[in-house]
Amino acid sequence: MNCSRTDEGGESRLQIDGALDALTVRDIRPIIDAVVADRPTRVTVDIEKLNLIDSSGVGAIVSLFKRVKANGGSVVVVGAREQPLAVLKLLKLDAVFGLR
């Protein structure tokens, strides 16, 4: 898993590649904590190049969503396809995350 962060204005963008699962989620949590601490107005999570996610990975994105929202910001997820999209739909998160 690789996660890169870019910032512009009050907005942050996370691009997550590879697999976000019980093994790799520990690597993304510090990045998520740092994003939340900066209190962005909007966070975009780009998972177009994410090829596998499990419930641990979903939990990390949900944690980001809840904490940014609690600070008055918003989170959208873009680019979901294949297995990650199927998992987000199963957990009824596609609409919450703004996925179509």
Binding site: A19, V58, L90
Partner: protein, 163 residues
């Protein structure tokens, strides 16, 4: 070490593949890759089938490693895969603490839980789930290619097992 053999055919020819690996998260990618490769030998499996059984297997793997072998570093996981043209059964066999794959409360998806979704996902993604706790514990997951996929719009209590 992986082994493959032809089982006694019933209605369809079934090939059994087995593999064994240490029950550690670091081996999760290998286990996932092996299962994904085996799906390629289920003749009528499509991408949805692959996504669903790989996801269910991954959640089961997590539970066994994280909960079943919580205080152990020497745990092993044996996986038996029965493959036919239209179905796949995965048996995950471990000697850790029993994990209750049937009795856990279903998650309240409306509250966007951050954990506790794995067992729900397993039941939602495969056709049959059975678990026999003991020494060893055996979790069996069966998915058929002809099955309907009733996930969206189906009530949780229809997906989860009933006592």
């Amino acid at each position: 070490m992986a082994q493959m053999s032809k089982e006694r055919p019933s209605e369809a020819c079934v090939t059994r593949m087995t593999f064994r690996l240490p029950a550690k998260l670091v081996h999760r990618p290998l286990a996932i890759d092996l299962v994904s490769t085996l799906v390629g030998h289920v003749a009528t499996a499509d991408r949805t089938f692959r996504h669903e059984i790989v996801t269910a297997f991954g959640e089961a793997f997590n539970n066994i490693v994280i909960h079943g072998y919580r205080d152990r570093t020497d745990g092993m996981l044996d996986v038996e895969a029965d493959l036919s043209a239209d179905a796949m059964t995965l048996r995950l066999i471990d000697t850790g603490a029993a994990v209750d794959f049937d009795e856990l409360d279903p998650p309240d998806l409306g509250s966007m839980p951050e954990r506790g979704m794995g067992v729900y996902m397993i039941h939602a993604l495969v056709d049959d789930v059975s678990y026999c706790g003991g020494q060893p514990n055996v979790l069996s997951l069966t998915k058929r290619t002809q099955s309907a996929t009733p996930h969206e719009g189906q009530a949780l209590d229809e997906l989860l097992p009933h006592g």
